[in-house]
Symmetry: C2
Subunit: 345 residues, 2 copies
């Protein structure tokens, strides 16, 4: 049994990884339909050794599509996702357009796969920073309950798309020969001010809000509550862009509801699907973005008992933001839909 799969935004940073993930995870693709804006249509993408022509993403392009993976921005998703559903496709959307819609499941398969049951055609893929955090927190929630979370992120530029990767590269090259870096994109393309990311850290991801937080930070707050099914959970994020190409890192403080043993925490994490524990500071073993790149797992280390709070636990969580943070989580959702017989044919 195979499926016709459309990838919307097929030429973007995440779209390209979606196609690679379908391939790498042996997803039963009968036919791949790469879709993009009219500007990118006509080019080709490689899939299973063959060049496949990119078509323009229009409502009619979804005719005969079983599963449509969207990663072309919120505007495209808002317009085209309902059209794809009308044409009979199930949409797995990587934008923030539908994530907080109460009729749309927001899913990380290892964490809340059961939420897929009620889907109405659109399933939302969470924000990259949220996904890796909830994977690391879920086994702790199940065993001890979660009181509150304080998280500071170290986010890669690829979260802002292919052009941001190029911008970091060009800025670094310029600065190495003593030239001024050119900044056109980060922290937020559509805003007025752009700052260099090469050899810098920018404490802004997405637009700033009146409450002093950024939209990225509030995504982490709202999405984490929805996925973990706990509106009373306290969450304080600080989201920061650093000069890394791929792999988001997170320094997480979590206060549990019950007392814990560190050895038990380590064992819960080690036995949780999708987590790899790399934790031995004395032997210099811990996760780093360069090691997490190209892997689907969430890497957890620097596990240590808080010095001030008996139920406080600290950890360092790293994952490839383009894979588990986006593309491979979307493909895993599609896999779960098939396994759980939730896909219409």
């Amino acid at each position: 049994m195979t499926y016709t799969v459309a990838v919307v935004g097929a030429t973007g940073a995440v779209g390209q990884q979606m196609i690679k993930s379908l391939e790498k995870r042996n997803f039963p693709v009968g036919k791949l339909i790469p879709l993009a804006s009219s500007r990118s249509a006509g080019g080709t993408v490689k899939f299973q050794g063959k060049a496949v022509t990119v078509l323009e993403a229009t409502p009619d392009a979804f005719e005969g599509v079983d599963i449509a993976l969207f990663s072309a921005g919120g505007g495209v998703s808002k317009f085209l996702a309902p059209e794809a559903v009308k044409h009979g496709a199930i949409v797995i959307d990587n934008s923030s357009a539908f994530r907080m819609d109460e009729n749309v499941p927001l899913v990380v398969p290892e964490v809340n796969r059961e939420a897929l049951t009620d889907h109405q055609g659109i399933i939302a893929n969470p924000n990259c920073s949220t996904i890796q955090m909830v994977v690391a927190l879920k086994p702790l929630q199940d065993q001890y309950g979660l009181e509150r979370i304080i998280v500071s992120t170290y986010q890669a530029v690829s979260g802002a798309g292919s052009q941001a990767i190029e911008e970091l590269r060009a800025q670094a090259a310029a600065m190495l020969v003593g030239e001024e870096p050119v900044s056109n994109l980060l922290p937020v393309g559509k805003l007025d001010q752009h700052y260099p990311i090469a050899f810098n850290a920018i404490p802004q991801i997405d637009v700033g809000l009146e409450n002093g937080f950024t939209f990225e930070e509030m995504k982490m707050v709202h999405e984490t509550k929805k996925i973990l099914g706990d509106d009373s959970l306290g969450i304080t994020p600080t989201c920061v862009r650093i000069p890394v190409y791929r792999g988001h890192s997170e320094s997480i403080y979590v206060e549990l509801k019950e007392n814990y043993q560190l050895s038990e925490v380590r064992s819960l994490l080690e036995n949780f699907s999708g987590i790899i524990v790399q934790d031995d500071i004395e032997q210099q073993v811990y996760p780093m973005p360069i090691d997490a790149t190209d892997h689907d797992e969430v890497f957890v280390g620097r596990l240590r008992r808080d010095l001030a709070h008996p139920k406080g636990l600290n950890m360092w969580v790293v994952s490839d933001n383009l894979l588990k943070g986006a593309a491979s989580n979307a493909v895993q959702i599609a896999e779960a839909l098939i396994e759980d017989h939730l896909i219409r044919r």
Copy 2:
């Protein structure tokens, strides 16, 4: 009235900045004596437009020295600082050798200048990460009291010395042309494993300890308690190296003992000596390492009320680790000693 000032480690990353700070802050230097290891002795450093010969750092080199600024590692300090004191100099030591010694004041002039009064010849300059944090916390401690702190750092490579700056530069250059980066130094020169810092994040600064924290993290714990004079203060640090040349950033969560108004916090910070507030996320105003480089101040922004705790406050604090984090704090200590008549002639 002028003073004979020795700089030990004059050719290192911090030593060079000490000499620049003496110059820039118009410190009353009668004679500068740059000292270094025998390997670097014989070279010259520039001071007030003239080349000054670097001498070998031996006990006799401190003859006639009024003030000796040390930044040549803990081993050199342990051996030579007592010798300098014997020869009549006051030592301001940037290493961690004497910081937790109860007979040695650990001083950030804006925060605990009064601790200088009891000095016995050696004064310790705190760790770079600690200095910028205690400056930002002090006005809050005075007004509300501090309950606990959770801090994640984003530290520049220059904290590991001149060679680490070169290592980042060489690694970035190699990776931009597709070559493998060579790692000889970071995270900790003397340890077995070295990892690339270019386009990466390393959650280890200084050696790992049995309690799961690193030595750098425990420095922040112990030094902050000593400087703020509060042994009951809860402190949880996560120290991370990122590919930035100069300027440490810190994401700080602080729980105050009393309720606060955000506007009052902003005003307390704005009126505190040595702090510059850059805080308007909606207008994209916040501190960044590239802006803090070459400045003596501590920059504070991203001020916002915690979403989960009524007495919780979040902020983003950036400062030049070679200046306020090391060289200029040392020179400010020397200035305070003179102003407070605590220097023997």
